[in-house]
Symmetry: D4
Subunit: 220 residues, 8 copies
């Protein structure tokens, strides 16, 4: 595979048959499969055709693998990992797309829900935990201020994901997108609106390299 991970399938507008065919091919290739933006009905149809699948109805992701998918194995807080942070509960879908992407990449991930800008105490309280991550995905809608604020606490790279949540001057997520791009914090890069997958993938690439380096270290 081009980069260690199987190619991700963008599910929007693809039929269950087409997705199944692609998944079959990737499995044969020794890759585990991630499909994003999958509707429940499509997922159900695909699920029937494969032994090991996981559909996440909020993230709308579907994974297909050669062996059972188990996301319960815990990791210790000191492990290398990604922190996924959401501003509000309405940003959860997008954040969970990032989380599922990271699980599929086999990169440990911690989720911090609902520590948006409007409650600075909640954010300040979480800060010591956020500082332990080697990369962060920060998901926020409306004015998209959260990455700037998180950037004031941490020193790892932040991947900001604007969401289309909001109304009026939010302009379907464009306002959050522009705000994140002009962030006064230096360590913030941005992906497309609602692109939880991309945010997770970028952070996953960063931490995967660190895990590999550590693995090299401990295996003499």
């Amino acid at each position: 595979a081009r980069c260690g991970f199987g190619e991700v399938v963008y599910g929007e507008g693809k039929s269950a048959q087409l997705i199944s065919r692609i998944a079959q091919a990737q499995l044969k290739n020794g890759q585990s499969v991630l499909v994003t933006r999958v509707d429940p009905s499509v997922a159900e149809e695909i699920d029937a055709a494969f032994a090991n699948t996981k559909y996440h109805s909020l993230a709308r992701t579907l994974r297909v693998a050669a062996s059972p998918i188990d996301d319960t194995t815990d990791f210790s807080e000191s492990d290398l990992h990604v922190a996924v942070v959401t501003a509000g509960s309405t940003d959860m879908n997008v954040a969970l797309e990032a989380v599922e992407t990271l699980r599929w990449m086999n990169v440990p991930v911690r989720l911090f829900e609902d520590i948006g800008v409007a409650g600075p105490q909640r954010l300040a309280a979480a800060a010591p935990q956020l500082c332990k991550a080697s990369a962060l995905v920060v998901v926020a809608g409306m004015e998209g201020a959260l990455p700037s604020v998180v950037g004031g606490y941490v020193s790892a790279p932040i991947f900001a994901v604007p969401t289309s949540v909001g109304y009026g001057a939010n302009l379907g997520g464009v306002t959050a997108l522009l705000g994140m791009l002009t962030s006064c914090a230096a360590g913030v890069a941005v992906v497309n609106i609602d692109a939880g997958f991309k945010g997770g993938y970028m952070a996953g690439m960063v931490v995967r390299q660190l895990i590999n380096a550590s693995a090299a270290q401990t295996s003499p």
Copy 2:
């Protein structure tokens, strides 16, 4: 006067003669004069024609009054007042336009410089002071996140002033403007880009009413 304050003169593109004529008329009317967006050379010319003027070269405001203008009279922290807050040093010009407007309105004002989003400790430290204000003017450029964050600490109305400071996706202040309008904080209203005058004027109207109510109270 329509609202207790003299009408403000927008100086951009007006000649020294024209401004002087308007100022003359307002003084005669018993109003003290505030002119905004005045170039130094224009200010100098006007200054020569009046006994009591104050030009602020950063704010680019000019005031003309019937008696000497004295902004040094201190006020105690417990007094009713407006807090003017800036995100970065580049926002000072706009903030000072607000400050001069408030002084002209005879409303006490405290200035908090450079407590932007990137340094959350500075902001948290200032929070107890900010909470003492009865109205706030928050001036910020780039992504314009500061009003949202300040809104997490205070309970008085915030007048957000976006500035045109920044580049690229900042779009000449439009990004900050849109971000402030979609602020997740409830107590934030917005004025035009770089409109320090308007921010100060709104906050001044709020606090002036409170001062008048208090004055009524103490003068039996």
Copy 3:
């Protein structure tokens, strides 16, 4: 509570269960509850679970309180209050969101319907009444000219709420928003498109402070 009022719940996309849970917690905290953008079916479901609720089907707001909600108590015209003004009948929904917010804040409110720009006589006739308010919420769609015009009559702060009412060059409310931001009247600040809640909240904060100051005065 952070600012004397309970935190407002944005109802869009939240289930009846989730809202009920939040409301329960706020009531326990001694706060009365305001939920905005609530669909009738959701409201009905929540209503069944609480003793004292008020759903306003035009404003689409739901209030939950510890004791019966009574908005009929009259206030005299000389009382401190907010004026909520609409340009046309199509702006009523947004205006009523502001009104309900003010009632929830326990701030007296008067509603002036349909005194838009196209009928200057109606506006001129209402002007003496408008001048009695300590803060105004002006709701207007299409070109959003009304706040500028009202600003020519009153000296209290105006909170302008653009609505998405209109078509074509109205651009879903963006035209009214931009127009209000560039208002030639000094005493106008703006909130997001259709954000009746925000307009009401800002005006409520202003007048609440005045009421408190007066209360302090009269209770020796």
Copy 4:
């Protein structure tokens, strides 16, 4: 000539020679000449070459005619005429372009300065005069509210001219343009930003037809 008036020359970026050549040709054709957007230096050069010219330094228009240009001939208020109205003093240049266009079309014109929205009394006072015009040109910058308001008083067609005067959310005149297009008044049509010429020309066409009809009437 195509429509009774000579073709107008857009002077921007044209040399004095080129303009002179065009003017020569039009004069020969029996047309009097109107050139818009002419810099003083260019105007001076052209003036030297023709017997009868009038350059208006504020309007930046240049007229060239076969006989002396005399705009002093008065007309009675009861005559058919166009009213040109400005919101603020900064809109005068554009308004004067309209005025000069009408003079060149030999259509009587009355100028109403500085009766913007912020001073409703001034506008109400002027209303009875405005009602005597058979067509109006309303020039306004910032939020461009004036045509809507004037439309509340008059029943003749209004040609709205947005100006680029303003800053920030004014977007170089686009905000005024959009506002005028979404005017809640039915009798308002709009021309390009700063296009005083076009506004004057449209109004002139309307009133010229009326004058011709009246002339036909009185000359049996």
Copy 5:
């Protein structure tokens, strides 16, 4: 009535009851009624309540009058009239809103269908007829080029109505709108996207004045 015509009712989002009530009031006032943007079901309900109505299902206009509405009375070509011109068949709905408005204003109107820019011969052939109109309403979508081209043939004022017909770079009519505003033809003013009513109303005001002048003339 303010301007000789009854006030037009914008039907969008108004109930049959509300419209009926307004219509009742206007009839009582001696005005005939025009309602725009009326759905068939709403129209049917209103129709049942009044003696004399006309609903135009393409224009989506409803008229209510004191006496039977008869649009069949012919007028001679030499009469003062408005020409309504469409670029393509998809622009007909908007054009018919203009036509119905003019009929309601009792102003003669001729309709020229489908003489868009792509077929220059059709336009050239119609030109001599178009030149007989005292005002024109030109309705066009896509790039909105038709008013510029028509402006090359006629000398009466043109009111351009951009339509939202098209896709992609058409941007919902904004492209046609901007194109019409920057028309190289001098005699073109523009109204809002799809605003057939406004285009008709403006042209109707122009021709109504001419008809009145002529009537004055012929009735000694």
Copy 6:
């Protein structure tokens, strides 16, 4: 060379030395050189270093060749050629960039000046000539209507070049660009604003293939 023509050098912001070095390399490669957007002073410096150059001060193009550059060799009207058409005199610079590009490609070119939309007779008169071209470059500013209209007369492919000429709603050429893209004529494709080079290059590729095919034909 990749496509039979030397690669074109974009001169903006390149020094005379850099351009000379590139030109030297291309000449050595057997290619003749075209540099666009060259300031006169830069051109003069380069001219001194090469034996055979041609600088066109309006087009701001510089050509460098191995043998003297001669554009005077006439071609008969019946030859395969490109027609370059301009709407107004202000579009000439961009049109000449197209012309020089075609000369450098050794493709015959005819220039039709100033036959814009406002004068339909001029265009109709030129139509029979335009129909002889195998490809057209149509350059127009303001509303960019000309390609649509020309498309009504010819059957060869049209390459539309919007220019930034205009003001206000012209939006620096974006209005013309959008208008051309939504042209109701089928045979119109568009290049970037002011990109005379690209328009000429596309048309040149089309006609060059035809010339080559003809050459193959005549040389047995």
Copy 7:
């Protein structure tokens, strides 16, 4: 016919009756008919009325001809032809509209599916085949990078068709459109978003001329 091909009918919003009437007229005129953007139900209704039709359900095109429509006749790779290229599978509908247009024009066409930018090897592998086309139609959504990249391999004119496929910053195809217009490749011109028909039509005009020239050559 104006240009050798019958006029194309834009089916959107047209009834089966209307389309049938137009088709009838064109057939009578000796033209074969192409209708774009036709819904299946409309197509079915028309199909019943004509002897020889072809509806393509993905392209949503309907063709009507005097004799049976047969697209199976093969052409040799060395023949003059157009290459239609898609970036991803979601761009197929638009590409097939181009293909059907070319078949209707009787111009040979080869389709290259899914050789988008993300897989450079696939594109490099296809390059030698792409170079054999005399004109290319390149269809791409998202960032619209494909035409630039293809332009690095081929020397024939490219007609780029942006599609509305994507989300967020894709802005409904506007991002791809703008990207294609600013392509660093010289030989790229652009048509409207999703305008497969226009892309095919432009390329077809280019290759049709070449075929005609060749035909002239071989038939002595």
Copy 8:
């Protein structure tokens, strides 16, 4: 220091005195200093006041350190490093800002110039080298296609920097920005227009963590 690197100073609009004062403070703090967007004259003035400085006139960066700044120490190709890639020569300034940022962070960096999309062979040739980098900064103007294409070859995270280079539909870099955000390649995140510093800083954070992990490994 917050994150291992001294805080970067944004030089735009800051005086030499102010910058010197900040630099002094940072040096005292044990941090080396990076100032971006510094004009030569300002740099010269600061240089005189410090022992160890480096000004890069193309990058417009100024560095101040406690000991001499030496960027010549070579690193072997196998070392952990960042690759900085430019599309064209006009993107060099922005790329060099990234390079200087990385040098200041003490992170090895390799620069790949001018391997833009238009020359696919150059890019394919560079691909094996690009694959050795642990993070990439890809700088491109115009349509900003390069990151998508590079993303087809490498598996490390890409930080895309759009530049404002181009004209017309490039919209001052906004087109490149939007294109990069909608990239079909998964491993691309984006920073602000012309923000070479941010691109370098993000990549530097990624590789610095890897270097630190390796250093821990080799130092037992």
